[in-house]
């Protein structure tokens, strides 16, 4: 369902993936790759594989020279480690497959330091190289347990909150490659009630419950009072500490029902149709603003990006008509404001941060009102 963001968002990389990829740095690939169908040649950091570019350069995180890599897209199951070339269903569980990015390279069965872009023979022992693949940073925000999926501010950790049964809130943790992480490495709590003091500008927690790792470490769990769905959706703020002595990052989960046990299948968005008439474009933006508002109201924060980015592209289409608007300056302002706010909604929706989302929505809403008033549209 979700392309995303974390590809260029990384400010910091941690975890065992460093070690997993560190050896790659020793193996410099060279030569012109003969790409297979569906493959793409990119430049990437030997350590920070999420850093990519289309040309030679230096890693944005560590300054190392980028190396070449061939990547391809394969289709995988949210739960089972399969990779096939075409979309379809998982042969194990029947779930819809979703696309993931893989690196393709050739290694020597005997010498792990030999890693080439092209098939051939090992430069050390002349053995035939064998094809191998590795996962690229996932860019996949699909829920694996039927819950709500967010990305941590460090853009490396990811988490999925579920409410599978009355009184049980669980958090599953992942790295940037969609690989599950042991919950025993993390701390957290759940906040059900809090107050905000506008003078001191501090939030005070009134009702909080600790999150404990499950016995097998597959998730963190908080036991909440039963009967949590008496009226309306259940709002849970989870505060998770990803690093020792680091901050507790906040994630706002809203559950309208108990979480389904299954993974969420990705869904492709419909293609956006841009109307010809400026007023119709403005009306389409207003409609997207209504959908954003609706998604925020029901806590579907990680779905907000779809109507927000559609509104953004509609606004860009409308920019060509600014000079013919009754008040060009106001319309130009509203369009650029909407573009900025749409990107922020996309950003904060990934993070599951309700407060920031609502602030971004204020800007988005004011901009869409400016656009609708430019064309005399009653909201």
């Amino acid at each position: 369902m979700r392309r995303v963001a974390c590809l260029r968002y990384h400010t910091r990389v941690m975890g065992t993936a460093w070690l997993a990829f560190a050896w790659m740095g020793a193996a410099v690939v060279s030569g012109t790759a003969q790409l297979q169908a569906g493959e793409e040649l990119i430049w990437t950091c030997p350590v920070h594989r999420e850093e990519t570019a289309t040309a030679e350069g230096l890693c944005a995180q560590c300054g190392r020279p980028l190396v070449r890599a061939r990547v391809t897209v394969v289709w995988s199951c949210p739960l089972h480690a399969i990779a096939v070339a075409e979309p379809g269903e998982c042969r194990v569980c029947g779930r819809d497959l979703y696309p993931v990015s893989q690196e393709v390279f050739f290694v020597c069965p005997m010498h792990s330091e030999v890693r080439e872009l092209e098939p051939g023979s090992c430069r050390l022992c002349r053995m035939a190289l064998v094809s191998s693949t590795s996962a690229r940073p996932h860019q996949d925000h699909n829920a694996k347990h039927g819950g709500i999926f967010f990305m941590a501010p460090d853009a490396w950790h990811h988490l999925e909150g579920t409410y599978p049964e009355d009184g049980a809130f669980r958090v599953h943790l992942y790295d940037n490659f969609s690989q599950p992480l042991s919950a025993k490495a993390f701390k957290g709590r759940v906040v059900l009630k809090e107050t905000f003091d506008p003078v001191s500008r501090e939030t005070r927690e009134l009702l909080a419950y600790p999150l404990f790792p499950s016995r097998d470490g597959s998730y963190l769990e908080a036991r909440l009072p039963s009967g949590s769905f008496p009226i309306g959706p259940l709002e849970i703020a989870a505060k998770i500490q990803f690093e020792k002595d680091g901050p507790f990052d906040r994630f706002d989960f809203v559950f309208a029902t108990l979480s389904a046990a299954s993974a969420t299948a990705p869904q492709a968005a419909a293609e956006l149709v841009v109307p010809e008439e400026p007023k119709a474009v403005a009306a389409a933006i207003v409609e997207r603003a209504r959908r954003v508002n609706e998604l925020l109201a029901r806590g579907a924060f990680n779905e907000v990006y779809v109507p927000a980015l559609e509104a953004k592209d509609l606004a860009l289409a409308l920019e060509a008509h600014v000079s013919s608007a009754p008040d060009p300056a106001s319309l130009a302002w509203a369009l650029k404001e909407l573009v900025r706010a749409a990107w922020l909604l996309d950003d904060y929706g990934d993070l599951g941060n309700k407060e920031k989302l609502l602030l971004a929505y204020d800007r988005f809403d004011e901009a869409s009102k400016g656009i609708s008033s430019s064309y005399g549209i009653t909201r």
């Binding site: 260029r8 040309a55 996949d140 841009v274």
Partner: protein, 365 residues
């Protein structure tokens, strides 16, 4: 009906099938074709080699490591540092980004920062505009200012004697930073002999060139007057731990014919609001907000005697680090009896109470 170019854009950028989105490079924009022209026209006067910004944005290898920061700054309205809300007035030399420019930069920053082909777009103006001709008088600071190795920033006042024996009208006052990568801004005051400095007659902020007053208007420089130059020095992290030496200069451009004298009117806002009644009709040419602490917004309006409210300027999230003179595209005439009102807003009470003000450069009618 759908436009073809939009359809193509959307296929890549918006509604992207998940397959499209999972490509490592998921933007249709490239640095050389789409991004560099924006940097050249909006950012290049500071973000160039030797400029006041700590990094140049005029080369791919210098730029792409800053992608996340660029995205954040653009979305937060922090960069470019142009805070005027265009709904409240049109100003010259706006560096405000258009909707398309915002989208191009953010999409490129998030989409893999592809380089593209050098020379893909025509090169545009990047530097500061050169003035027409040389100034009539050029004055260097009397002494070299030294910003010590252990100081990151400083404010320095320098007094320049003009030595003029008769009154002159100035069509421009030019500030020329001696060390462009360390001089952030400057205020220039005309100080008549035996007087104290009043409102600044001109300002300069990094990235600006010389600005001439509209024809027929000029700042009066009495015989024997001096100039007070108040300079804000700020090192970039590239110069941390280094001693910086500067000897900036000021250029004076004289009006050749008769001209209306430009004066500065100062409206102060303490506690959030200030009012200044006009005892004479004036023509407002430019506005210099002097913000002493971060604000949510600053709004200046004129209430005319007939009750009409004329917006003069609104700044959104103004940053005290960038004291810029906003020059009106068209002068605004205000009749005698008008009341100038300055309102500032902030969530922070201490910021609200600071001595914010607005200097209006006006010509008397």
């Amino acid at each position: 009906m759908k436009r073809p170019f939009i359809a193509a854009a959307l296929a890549l950028a918006v509604a992207p099938s998940t397959l499209e989105a999972h490509k490592p490079t998921k933007t249709r924009f490239t640095y050389h074709r789409d991004v560099l022209p924006i940097f050249e026209s909006r950012c290049g006067s500071c973000h160039r080699e030797g400029g006041v910004a700590p990094m140049s944005l005029l080369g791919y290898k210098d730029t792409f490591p800053w992608a996340v920061s660029i995205k954040n700054q653009v979305l937060a309205l922090s960069m470019p540092p142009w805070f005027a809300d265009e709904r409240y007035g049109a100003f010259r030399h706006s560096s405000s980004l258009t909707a398309t420019e915002v989208n191009t930069l953010v999409d490129w920053c998030l989409g893999g920062t592809p380089e593209g082909v050098p020379g893909d777009a025509a090169t545009r103006r990047t530097g500061v505009e050169s003035p027409e001709g040389e100034p009539d008088v050029a004055l260097e600071l009397p002494e070299t200012f030294v910003l010590e190795a252990d100081r990151a920033e400083a404010r320095h006042d320098a007094r320049l004697e003009t030595g003029l024996r008769r009154d002159r009208l100035l069509r421009a006052i030019e500030f020329r930073p001696g060390r462009p990568n360390a001089v952030r801004s400057a205020l220039l005051f005309v100080v008549p002999k035996g007087s104290k400095p009043g409102a600044p007659a001109a300002s300069w902020v990094a990235g600006e060139g010389v600005e001439f007053w509209p024809d027929g208007r000029g700042v009066r420089l009495p015989a024997g007057a001096s100039l007070l130059v108040r300079i804000h020095y700020k090192k970039t992290w590239l110069d941390e731990g280094k001693e910086i030496r500067d000897r900036s200069a000021v250029g004076l451009y004289f009006s050749k014919g008769k001209a209306k004298s430009i004066e500065g009117i100062v409206v102060e806002a303490r506690g959030g609001e200030g009012v200044y009644p006009l005892s004479q009709a004036v023509e407002v040419l430019s506005l210099l907000p002097k913000v002493e602490a971060p604000l949510d917004a600053l709004l200046a309006e004129a209430a005319l005697p007939d009750g009409t409210l004329v917006p003069l300027i609104r700044l959104r999230g103004p940053d005290p680090a960038w004291p810029r003179t906003y020059r009106l595209e068209e002068p605004i005439s205000l009749p005698k009896g008008s009341r100038l009102r300055l309102t500032v807003t902030s969530q922070d009470e201490a910021s609200l109470q600071a001595a914010h003000s607005l200097v209006l450069n006006v010509a008397r009618n």
